[in-house]
């Protein structure tokens, strides 16, 4: 069997000198080249920490990362030291963040910040560096790229800044792009432009994308596979159609029905389905299934037994003890 492009098995991350805060708990997933995996979850679900652990962005002193496997394109990320990670970041993998303004240096020009990524990793003349910067700015469809190279971040709109971030991430042609809520701070029309652009670039370069989001609409728009996280653990994983049509974990089902969506022909002011309660604290995770006390489908046994992983269908797994098909009835009118 061929090895997937990115393979993570049983990843756990804890912070603090004694590992007292376990924020990621036994996460496993694979990602094929050229595909998009959406990591879905609410704040504190551990989705960003999962991604930053892949990037090696946590200081070794205060973080404990354990996994059975963490491999990117044949490279064992578990054995990488900081110097090796510095080599890999930019060339093998890159990351874009939610707020492009705070990710860019306000005192340096766009051109300088983009060039930095090139001269760190490649031995090119200044003219070649500039040519590369210009090319990548054109690729991300920034109008008037020559002029933009000398602009400062504050002179750009939010959407343009996020395009610069994407350009910076892609300038050394990494095989893996991690996008952490890249459109959450943007307007909906700009979000649509950025998602469209990411799709185009992915087709062009064959980049694998881990897309972190809490917005199921965005998942429906761009995901191939979806992994849903809750309170540090993975709760369900499958293709985007598995998740939207055959959600089999109570949390996924709850999220899908609690999301306010507009459906053509919908009459106004319909009451939303609520998920009761709030997210548990890491220091005080409930016994049994983490979601049991909020779950509409919980059985008494869910409160004291940690659920097993079940394969509902090939490639579609859930950590839920409820019989498969408990949530079969689609909660919403689905598409034609």
């Amino acid at each position: 069997m061929t090895q997937p492009f990115l393979s993570v098995r049983n990843l756990s991350v804890s912070f603090g000198a004694n590992g007292e805060a376990k924020v990621v708990n036994g996460v496993s997933f694979d990602l094929e080249a050229g595909k998009t995996l959406c990591l879905v979850g609410e704040s504190g679900s551990g989705k960003s920490v999962t991604a930053t652990s892949l990037m090696g962005l946590h200081p070794a002193k205060t973080t404990r990362i354990t996994a059975d496997r963490m491999e990117l394109d044949g490279i064992d990320l578990l054995s990488c030291d900081e110097a090796r990670f510095a080599e890999l970041r930019g060339t093998k993998m890159a990351m874009i963040f939610q707020d492009p303004m705070s990710s860019l240096n306000p005192a340096l020009t766009i051109g300088f910040q983009l060039r930095e990524a090139v001269f760190l990793h490649e031995n090119l003349s200044r003219a070649d560096q500039d040519a590369r910067v210009l090319e990548v700015l054109q690729r991300v469809r920034i109008p008037d790229p020559e002029r933009r190279m000398t602009s400062y971040p504050h002179e750009l709109s939010g959407g343009m800044r996020q395009r610069v971030m994407i350009a910076m991430a892609l300038i050394c042609r990494p095989k893996l792009l991690i996008a952490d809520e890249p459109t959450t701070a943007l307007d909906v029309t700009v979000q649509a432009q950025i998602l469209w652009l990411l799709g185009e670039l992915q087709r062009e370069f064959g980049t694998a994308i881990i897309f972190i989001t809490h917005d199921l609409g965005v998942v429906a728009e761009i995901g191939d596979d979806v992994a849903v996280m809750y309170a540090g653990s993975l709760v369900e994983k499958g293709s985007v159609f598995d998740i939207f049509d055959r959600a089999s974990h109570g949390y996924t089902a709850g999220l899908l029905s609690a999301t306010a969506e507009f459906h053509p022909g919908q009459t106004a002011s319909k009451r939303l389905v609520e998920i009761p309660g709030s997210l548990p604290q890491f220091s005080n995770l409930p016994q049994g299934c983490n979601f049991a006390d909020r779950c509409a489908f919980a059985a008494p046994s869910c409160l004291d037994r940690t659920p097993d992983w079940r394969e509902v269908a090939p490639g579609h797994v859930t950590s839920c003890d409820q019989p498969v098909g408990a949530f079969d009835a689609p909660k919403k009118e689905t598409a034609r």
Partner: protein
């Protein structure tokens, strides 16, 4: 003027000077009304003037021109005590429940402040009212002694709602009240807001960029672009059959709720123009897929088209027979 309008603005204008002779044209002649018990959603992208408009009708800022009547009183004329009395009827819920609550105050002190400011009842009555309000927003009496940092985001936003309702306002202005909350919490807070609105027969100005949320809570919707309302009407009509090309583009940009409905066309391109240098004619024409020559010459007025839908577009309301537009 009809009697039961809670809020009515006419040609409200607010330009912020930014040095030299330049101005940010934040609100460029907005006429809007909200009836008693009605929810009007104000929709648009950041920078379109939604929040500046909200500040004007809250009395937090003064318009350069135009009129804003709240409960039949001209807001722009009010000063001092008159304005103070008036603010009681209009209260606000903010986007960020953390920065809009004083971290050094307990929940009780936060909800009691408006009651103290307006000297409502005796101190004992105020205390009882605070506990009643906390109960109504789903926070038990034991939350009264807690500080904001001891609560979750959803609970803080409930506290913000309790504070806004303390003075029994007639109009509630909610500026993106759920966009900072987690998805699983949003539905709880939205349902609570709608329940309280219905119980208290409140009018609600609901500012949001989230079309999904708007479709669930509002009776009418007004779409703003660069400081102007470009389309308004019943939520159902506007969302199902948009008349303005910008409204169509905005709705198109909303992610589809199911992976089988993925976008196959490139979305609306570009950014809104700068509010400092307003373009001549229709502000949307640079991005408009059906722009005509006339769009660069005249700003379309917001008025009913042949079907009675209210929209500011030359396609819906052709200018004049002798200026019959030609496609460019």
């Amino acid at each position: 003027m009809s009697r039961d309008m809670v809020m009515q603005t006419r040609d409200l204008v607010r330009h912020f000077p930014i040095g030299g002779k330049q101005k940010v044209h934040a609100v460029n002649g907005v006429s809007m009304e909200i009836a008693a018990g009605e929810t009007l959603a104000l929709v648009g992208e950041s920078g379109c003037g939604k929040s500046s408009f909200a500040r004007l009708i809250m009395g937090l800022d003064r318009p350069d021109s135009g009129s804003a009547r709240l409960l039949g009183q001209e807001l722009t004329q009010l000063r001092g005590a008159g304005l103070h009395a008036h603010r009681k009827a209009v209260q606000m819920i903010f986007q960020d429940p953390t920065s809009s609550l004083d971290p050094r105050w307990t929940a009780e002190a936060i909800v009691r402040e408006p009651l103290d400011n307006y000297k409502v009842g005796t101190p004992d009555e105020r205390r009882a009212r605070v506990l009643d309000l906390l109960d109504r927003v789903g926070l038990g009496a034991h939350y009264a002694e807690r500080y904001p940092h001891e609560m979750s985001g959803g609970q803080r936003q409930r506290l913000g709602i309790a504070r806004a309702l303390a003075l029994e306002p007639r109009l509630l202005v909610a500026d993106e009240p759920v966009s900072a909350l987690d998805v699983s919490i949003r539905a709880q807070v939205l349902n609570l807001l709608c329940d309280l609105r219905d119980e208290m027969n409140l009018s609600l100005l609901f500012i949001s960029h989230d079309i999904g949320v708007v479709s669930h809570v509002s009776d009418r919707v007004a779409v703003m672009y660069l400081g102007r309302v470009i389309e308004t009407g019943k939520t159902f009509d506007v969302l199902n059959n948009p008349k303005h090309p910008y409204t169509s583009g905005l709705l198109e940009a909303v992610p589809r709720p199911h992976p089988s409905q993925r976008r196959e066309r490139a979305p609306l391109d570009g950014d809104p123009p700068s509010p400092i240098h307003l373009p001549q004619g229709c502000a949307f024409r640079d991005r408009c897929p059906v722009a005509m020559e006339v769009c660069g010459r005249f700003t379309p007025a917001l008025k009913p088209d042949a079907e009675g839908r209210i929209v500011a577009c030359h396609h819906a309301n052709p200018v004049k027979p002798e200026l019959e537009p030609t496609h460019v």
